[in-house]
Symmetry: C2
Amino acid sequence: MPTYKAPVENALFLLNDVFHIERYGNVPSFAEATPDTVAAVLSEGGKFVEEVLQPLNRVGDLEGCERHSDGSVTTPKGFKEAYRALTEGGWIGLAMEPEFGGQGLPHTIAIIMTEFMTSANMAFAMYPGLTQGAFLAIRLHGNDEQKKTYLPRIANGEWAATMNLTEPHCGTDLGMLRTKAVPQPDGSYKITGTKIFISGGEHDLASNIIHLVLARIEGAPAGTKGISLFIVPKFLVNKDGSLGARNGVSCGSIEEKMGIHGNSTCVMNYDNATGWLIGAENRGLNAMFTMMNEARLGVGVQGLSMSEVAYQNAVAYAKERLQGRSLTGPKNPDKPADPIIVHPDIRRVLMTMRAFNEAARAFVIWTALQGDLVMQGEDEKTRQAADDYMGLMTPVLKGFLTDMGFQNAVLAQQVFGGHGYIAEHGMEQFVRDARIAMIYEGANGIQALDLVGRKLPKDGGRAAMAYFAELSAFIKAHAGDEAMQPYVKPLEAALGDLQKATMWFMQNAMQKPDNAGAGSYDYMHLFGLVQLGYMWAQIAKVALEKKSKGNGAAAEMDAKLTTGRFYMERMLPETAAHLARIQSGADAVMALPAEAF
Amino acid sequence: MPTYKAPVENALFLLNDVFHIERYGNVPSFAEATPDTVAAVLSEGGKFVEEVLQPLNRVGDLEGCERHSDGSVTTPKGFKEAYRALTEGGWIGLAMEPEFGGQGLPHTIAIIMTEFMTSANMAFAMYPGLTQGAFLAIRLHGNDEQKKTYLPRIANGEWAATMNLTEPHCGTDLGMLRTKAVPQPDGSYKITGTKIFISGGEHDLASNIIHLVLARIEGAPAGTKGISLFIVPKFLVNKDGSLGARNGVSCGSIEEKMGIHGNSTCVMNYDNATGWLIGAENRGLNAMFTMMNEARLGVGVQGLSMSEVAYQNAVAYAKERLQGRSLTGPKNPDKPADPIIVHPDIRRVLMTMRAFNEAARAFVIWTALQGDLVMQGEDEKTRQAADDYMGLMTPVLKGFLTDMGFQNAVLAQQVFGGHGYIAEHGMEQFVRDARIAMIYEGANGIQALDLVGRKLPKDGGRAAMAYFAELSAFIKAHAGDEAMQPYVKPLEAALGDLQKATMWFMQNAMQKPDNAGAGSYDYMHLFGLVQLGYMWAQIAKVALEKKSKGNGAAAEMDAKLTTGRFYMERMLPETAAHLARIQSGADAVMALPAEAF
């Protein structure tokens, strides 16, 4: 049976020693996020997920969710109690505003808790996860009455929430959506249509489910410019806040999926359901993007989470499983064989995961911190810079981290040999669960297109130029530091590849947009590799400082320096292959006529 | 529901136009393998798998195998009838010797049929697949009575066969195996022990199951030098060939696995079961390697098979699914959107699979042809050269093709977006099924070690040097051919990387063997990439010749030339990243003490 221990220490090291969150005391939500408070919250959160959520991971996979003939859905055994404990602990509202009943902590802290929850039980963590985006959408785009009605009970977990975008004939291309909204004399709308792949569309965890639904108001323009966003609660809410009649929305079926069986993925039928417009007419996509950016960050975290828990279990197995002898002579001479961790190829796999995990966690925390600054930064310049960074990095974080998370779950499974393919060890569940993160919230190919086609050229490339300048300044600042060269030199080369690729798009994609499309996926990975390299360089700097000051455990700092070096020598050089593919352009990619396939 | 069409035309193109099998008429099994016969066999075989096996693929996944309380095992609905049709068609004995009731065709033809069967239904194809290796082991190592007793009924499919190696505490490290064999006065042995992960260990397809079992004769030396191979039939066979008493071997349980649910993966309990030694005492591993090399070739083919069927379904979906518009303007202006095959990133994925499939098929066919020459080549030099090639290439074929097959199943699933994650489309089954091929018959990390640690240095590196010389000669021979430069130039660069990596091992791994272990996996992939590059160069040459002679459909030849160019521009350059990782050595891989993980 798999185990999990929340990496609290590592998160605190990144928050305090690498990113110095004490510097952000002027940001409202950080005021009370003192090192002691944060340590207490994360340590309590870690304990909660280890003791309450992780033991339910396998039962969730085996049992899955069941839809009954009346359309109600039962979640796996134990999920209801765990959800109640989650709400009672105040975990859902951790980063929500106190005026709506939240704890008011930074998102930076909440995202770490999301990582922990997802490692422990991804299918479970998706229920409260989706609620986060819905809260934000209502808070930013809802009117006062909507905020007052829904937010406090979303924040305390009494009500859950969903996002309803996809229809059978349209996923990525939302311009084709058909669900219609007919205005009623009382200001409400009647919503009719079918939505698919709705995570947590129906379940037994909360007393009400607030659906945020994209639909087209009768007579609205075709395409994406005619889409509006609606609040459609499962139970209508009376003036006094009590639950009223059942609304015309129901779960038609549950999908049979590859993984995340503990989460109910529903076909939702809207049949003259009562809904209320949120935000402006025909501006629904705009409001939905608020949720999607939040959700994309959360999905990127899932890649890290799966990689971390898979890594932990692979390490435990590699230390315990005896098979073969070390190439350099027996390490365990009084036993019939050495533990497989002595074999370089097993090490290669473990180091690959390890080198990803810590840098990916840094990437996630840094990005969430920028998210807090977008909302609460004290001046326009700060907010602007943070927003530029978020826009540019969200597709990289979502696409790159989920690809790597899946790859690492597969690597971890491989460490187990045949036992990795057997369900009881739990490794194959990590692979099946991790797979979805590459697909939902915009398949990773769409993330890559968003990066190259939209985020890169936005505002004359301002965000990318600021990013390149930041890295160049870091590299320059450490040019004279001998001990930093194993980190800074490879980073410089990789940044050069990223800049060359960017330049190549500028010169070749205007006239021939297929050149951008054909190189977009490689560019997303190239960007992700550079970003993790930058994270490692910053971690290495802190580790070197701590070592030289005799401050912090030397062995732990050495482990960071070694892991960072592995990243630089073994993973970062892949940037060159990405650049070569990008520069080969679209010719060979597009030359074959469609009929020839 | 997924579909499958056997790529008969492509196999015939490779056999006839690229590898000119008519040249091998002097090899006994090729004498009757005229182009017409081969075309008829493959076309009939293709029809059989499309009509009989493929429709059972999903039901096999859904139903799985069931073990009853008496230890008997029922295969999924329809498997029994399909197996009967397979035996009646003579497909199991296609490449087995006529003296034992086989059809006597080359293995080169049988391996293509294995590809087709596996694409159509991998879990089903494993039942007859394992029989192939057992047949060979008995034919090469059994005595006359054993051959007479078992081979004809294995060849006609009346009896099935299995390989029993793994035990709970030992998989890769067979030296630790504990199953014991006690000699009996009548020359038989009593076998006692537990074997796990036995594919097809028990089922209802055949009237008897012949288990080949590794065990240790009482008093034999410890380690691998004390292992012998035994024949242990499920039902003892009477002198007259009729079935006698039930032997002391039974299925204790069926494993719950990630995929290949239609194949029964059994825990087999041997409790004083009667067995007969096959081959010499304590030389069991040697005999077992005969089966394992055969099986490794078959497993490598599974990588190709899964990639091919996943590709076909991804192409069909990409042509049909309407979503978004081409970057170069609408291609489908009268419809609400363009088919997704217009998008460069979808093309990139389809081309990646396509560029793998045809070259991997060439690799498989060429290797099987060498296998035929090992057995039947007319002179020692021919047999030797073929054997060198087989030894060197078996780990590459197994490891590289199964890694890529899985990767491509994942890519194909991605083309379907959310629909790829849903069971009904069948794409997630391909991913789950393809995953096992990277693990069994020696996990791919073991293949890599076998390549670098054993096959490469064997006979002073003779096999590798012959391979490098062959490629160099090919490159030199086409140095003046302008049209071949887009294929020969990249191949030359990639071969250079392979040679540099080989040299690096020679210079750095003697003193420090961890340098070999740390680079072995990258070396296996580097080798595989070069080999597929060589296959594409040969295909390109034929396509150019056919075009210039106006011989063969020009559009088809153009498609090959384009696909080959894609391979050269987009896939082959990855060799540089592998070389960089190899040359970074073992330092960063091994530096961390085990406790630090």
